[in-house]
Symmetry: D2
Subunit: 446 residues, 4 copies
């Protein structure tokens, strides 16, 4: 495994996209094709058995394959040649029926669909575990007050549970998207040279149906050699997921800044050290996940660009997908896996959450006071009074409450007691906790 | 309308994204908010009526708005100020309740969602008309033989109906995607400063529910200020659609090359001329649609990149969406509209389709012959014989059938009569027509 | 000016890309072409004068142009038609010679090059002013201690001047790039229908030369209708510049977080307020500039993708450039202008810079101590001792100096006095000031 | 070498980006650092010798490195640890001075710069060979008539030499860009933890200077840990080059369509076959090169996006570069190498070039005739007459010359003899040959 692949990928999904696994799924297609054609009476049953018996990646000569792939421009062509030779060694007659009626793209695409399905299973399991963790955390911190931030500035109190619930809300939608995409994407590719299955004469549809069954894939209405929207939807779905993971990682890294110090990635065991600075505790998981969130969008745009494929087989655009889509899967799966691993071990410093809030001199209750004053002064007048007092706070070092109590126009309408009540964070959480409950409830259903 | 906007957009959808319409939808939010808050007893009913009465874009000073937008960094802030001033002119007291409890992003986002919904309606109607046209064409040309092409080379016969059906198959999936996305995307944004609706105290959820009803939007479980996956899914869904439209345009342009001359965009009336070459008939619709297919992917990657939004309101990344998403909608809607207009008037030259096929010297039946020979020679042996004969065709100018008839190894296993049958395109269409039927049937259901 | 265009653009450069200016530069080409052809004896001098006299954008019917652009797929074609009609009204004979020997793309491309040159002048002036500001600041804060941050964690002291110098270093390279690109990019496009200037017979090169002189453009070796690398290099050069501007904006926004509070965008006059939170002071300039840095990369990728243009005029890919390149110029020019305006008014809080450093309990001198101990303990041993002490600091609340003084292995090799010296930031700035001087010196030369 | 890497890369450049080579260049940095520090009296000369002696990639444990890279988030940290252990085995004291004063990013970045310089050498050599081939071809086909095509339609005659010269013109600019970029890009990265070289006290600049000499790199004015414009300019320069290569590949693939048949990629030896169609001769090199041209733009946008790196070391954005930039180099180098190999073996069918021109019924001389008639009729009148005649040609099957000779308004002003002269392609090449000469001449200078 190359040095950096290990850093950004996820072990299980990386394995799905190894060359051995790629060839394995292509050979699964060839084996299933032979069986399906035998079941439909297109090729002899005995031949199918011999062929299927040779469909094992370890029997192929990988180095020779790489060499021939360069010449033929396509890994399926030399793979079929090697397979044919293997079969021929055992049974010359059976060798005639290898890859019968199929074209390279049938093998490549169906193999890829099988790989994606495998990766999907792993990712759905990570998604499910991650959402479960988030649901527990949202509940645990449902009422834990934290300073909300907008445009990287202090805004108003919210709860840490509400922040987590917002993460969960998005991640749950990704679970739904993953689930729903299955039927559209896990479909057979089988069309022969130009999508007519002409070589199978009148048996094309029958073989297709059985082949789809063999591989447990959906049967599409028509082969989709140059209609790539299904595969590209895999890419866009992953792109959306990577974006949300990046958002969560960014939040963690903002709150892990030493001056804020509310959240911490787990440390220890060589994790997040620095080669020059012994005191460092780096957010290395956030770095990895953010890197994925930065890299995936450009790769998705490549997939979208490559959709413009000519006639019955694209020139260059199809080829542009080959490394790009697996890379998108690997990066997103890696980011998801990392996040799923880190989240349960995230250190949450609720004391710092509170003390950061306390150190704002009450400025973050500006809206609260403004709304209270608005009832008598009007929204615009109140906004002006509070804005002015807020600016004084910055220079005087007093609290907003103190500044306002000295303003006669405020005194007139709000008693000190009522005013002070407005500066209690727990009283200014609005529907935060209700939102948390709604999200947790929805996240139980898929 | 700027010069080039007209070229790439679609009139109806462009109107949805005009500044006037943008402000209109933002004001719809403010009006509905006032009404909802009145219904929930949060603000006086009389105030709500006055506010709603002023929520008309034509009452605003657009030039002043643009100026203040630059200062405040946000069109909602000066819009609310102007609206408040308008209300105050009529009723000072009512002015206190404008935008009560909401934040700028609530207005911006919900306004955008309303614009997208409007555009969606227009695009769904274009999609529906376009799919209907394709279904008619797929049926009409169901058995019309055309040369299939792979990697921009001759491959094998298929039918023009099958090509159209493959287009329809993808476009129909886009219809399904458009339909399904609705529930996830057409949702209210309403959270106040940090997504807690704190300013509405315990009434936040009630107002939200009524507000959603007023605007006929779904009520989300939690505000989604920095969870942008819904909006970005709009972008990716459109990106997929633009990709397919580009694929169809590329096919048209390939087949409109004078040497192929099988398909033609409609001409006449100043369409597709050249400033220097009087004989030109340019595929201007294809140019426009391909331009959209090239432009949209980069814009989608921007939307994905911008998902990494900090805490409760993103800095810069949120702002990066503002012109990008409307541009994606406009370009895709423009390409779709153009395609829908052109397709029914596409000139289809079935004679050229046939004669192009005839001029291949039978080479495109190489697979057919190869499969026939394979039954006795084996697939690999047959492939070799036919490949060699194919190469001779290129130099001798004879047909593949003639070359094969001179090969003793072929003569041995296939009579001239049987061999000639293999070169009849209608006999080598496999399941093409069955695929057409399946696609048309599915396209009737949504 | 549309609402959001004003927000993200720069007034001067936006004007360069208005439709009127676009038509103006296209008409400049037509006027210069007529004059050049007259000077070369290709068309009558009198005709050239009449034509040149009509080459004014205000004489054209803009609405009719937009309409015909949609039909012809190209703004040059209807523009030439309107111009011809205008000339004909005054002089039927002269009208014969409008646009003589040119093709649409000649006008479009050369017009665009002229627009870019104009924008370049404005941007170079902004770049120059911005670099001058940075040089002053780098000098002013040359020795002002600030906490350096890596991976969003505390690292070691540096100076604010060194931070500014690093910004300047990159911005100065952009100045150099802007300067150097001129010769390669400000070239004439003139080739006629397929780049041969066939319509001018043997006079093609002569006319080209004079035309280039008229427009003060370089004469290329050969027309470059489908060799777009020059224009795309404009895009990539701007992309690099937008990236650096984004980096500076990100730095400002990080240091403007209330807990850090070292840098502040200017406030007041309606700048950076919030519709709901009266206390807010938002980094609105950073938001705008970051938005540009997020948007430009996707647009650059579109330009790169669109380079694959067929034969002598691209289909769709050429068209994909039309709105994209101006958008890249506008966004980058807008971000640059904003940055240039903000930087001289940036509030720099040197006290907070110092106090943030003081509050790290000496942890940021971990490397310093580690290096000092390494002389006797070895780098690896010292790293371990300091790492352990750093972790104790986090729990005990003591300073790193205190913790180390209690470690016998440290006492053995470093006296308390020597140890304390290691915790003086001014003594741990290494070559920071020397680097500042080098950058300032280089920035004086272009 | 993974299956698909071999397909898209180039053997020599792929080797430069192998893990072994990556580690090798990082170790070159460590060795040179030790030597430089010894020369400056910072560390003992004997220690430097021991360290330099261990800086060999084959001494490291690659598997352990990959494992630790995942933990530390950075390959430099475990590499330094392993190196230190190796040195310590031989000389405990020397081990203290490994990586003295440097930070991980110094090693990573400088190592990367060394790899790029190596790749640059290989690519410049390929560029040079490719340009030489193009110059020969431009000369050889300087006057070979070919049909020019615009918007994928017939336009006018040009020469194949002019087409090749236009390719050469762009490729030569890329050579110039490659050459010029060197000074800006091949610079040392050396700044220590936050870019101050504090650990080296007053010796920072001295060591930097000697270190740069040791590695034959330029010394920058200031470390550039988060100023990535230099590296991103490598990406954009390659992006421009990949775009031109894609354009050439697209041209080849258009002209290799069987109906046009003017250019052919070399065949034979397993090249470009099909698994199902024995007659196929696929443009596999074009496919590979086009794939690179489609993939590189998205990767370049990632590099641009990643420029927004925080403070003194970026979080995630720096990491996003690690696999992306090498991938851009590999893909572009692979496409360039493929193109350089294919071009000298490209089959050029000059007979088909001529016969395709002859089969246009003279329509491509429409502009020629139009210009000739314009002298008496005016440009607009002539355009109309020729446009109408061109449309008749399409239905009557006659030539444009014949159609025009039957038009009385034409007869009046042009004799049949003069008219026929207008339809001789060699007489309508304008400055094509002169342009070829100019380009060839310029291409000799670098």
């Amino acid at each position: 495994m190359p040095l950096l692949d290990a850093l950004f990928g996820s072990p299980l999904v990386d394995a799905v996209f190894s060359d051995e696994s790629r060839l394995g799924r292509m050979l699964d297609f060839e084996a299933a094709l032979a069986r399906a054609e035998a079941r439909c009476g297109v090729i002899p049953g005995a031949a199918a058995e011999v062929i299927a018996g040779k469909c094992k990646p370890e029997l192929l000569d990988a180095a020779a394959l790489a060499q021939s792939t360069k010449l033929s421009g396509n890994p399926a062509i030399p793979m079929v040649k090697q397979l044919t030779a293997l079969v021929a060694k055992q049974d010359q007659y059976a060798a005639r029926f290898v890859h019968w009626g199929a074209t390279s793209q049938d093998v490549n695409d169906t193999g890829l669909v099988l790989q994606i399905r495998e990766a999907w299973g792993i990712m759905e399991s990570d998604l499910s575990a991650f959402c479960a963790t988030l649901a527990v955390m949202a509940q645990q911190y449902r009422s834990t007050v934290i300073l909300g931030r907008t445009l990287m500035q202090h805004a108003q109190p919210t709860t840490f549970g509400a922040k987590v619930a917002a993460w969960l809300d998005a991640m749950h939608r990704h679970r739904v998207r993953f689930r729903k995409i299955g039927n559209r994407v896990f479909v057979l590719q089988f069309g022969g040279a130009v999508g007519t299955l002409a070589a199978l004469k009148e048996k094309g549809l029958d073989v297709s149906e059985v082949l789809a069954q063999e591989l447990k894939l959906e049967l599409p209405d028509i082969p989709w050699h140059t209609q790539r929207d299904r595969l590209v939807e895999v890419a866009t779905t992953l792109g959306l997921c990577a974006g949300t993971l990046g958002k969560i990682a960014r939040d963690i890294s903002v709150h892990m800044q030493p001056e804020i110090a509310e959240l911490f990635e787990p440390a220890g065991g060589g994790r997040g050290g620095s080669s020059s600075m012994p005191h460092k505790r780096n957010p290395v998981s956030a770095a990895r996940i953010l890197a994925a969130a930065i890299r995936v969008p450009g790769l998705v745009s490549t997939m979208l660009t490559a959709m413009v494929q000519e006639d019955e087989r694209g020139l260059g655009n199809w080829h542009a997908e080959w490394e790009t889509l697996p890379e998108i899967v690997r990066l997103t799966a890696g980011a998801l896996h990392e996040m799923k691993e880190v989240m349960p071990r995230l250190e949450v410093d609720v004391n710092n959450m509170r003390s950061n809030l306390d150190q704002t001199h009450g400025l973050v209750f500006a809206e609260a006071v403004s709304m209270a004053l608005a009832e008598s002064m009007g929204k615009s007048g109140a906004h002006g009074v509070v804005e002015a007092a807020s600016q004084r706070v910055r220079t005087t070092g007093k609290t907003l409450s103190e500044e306002l109590q000295q303003d006669p126009s405020v005194k007139q309408v709000l008693s000190a007691e009522v005013l002070n009540q407005l500066f209690i964070p727990e009283r200014y959480l609005g529907s935060a906790e209700a939102f948390v409950d709604r999200v947790i409830a929805s996240s139980q259903q898929l």
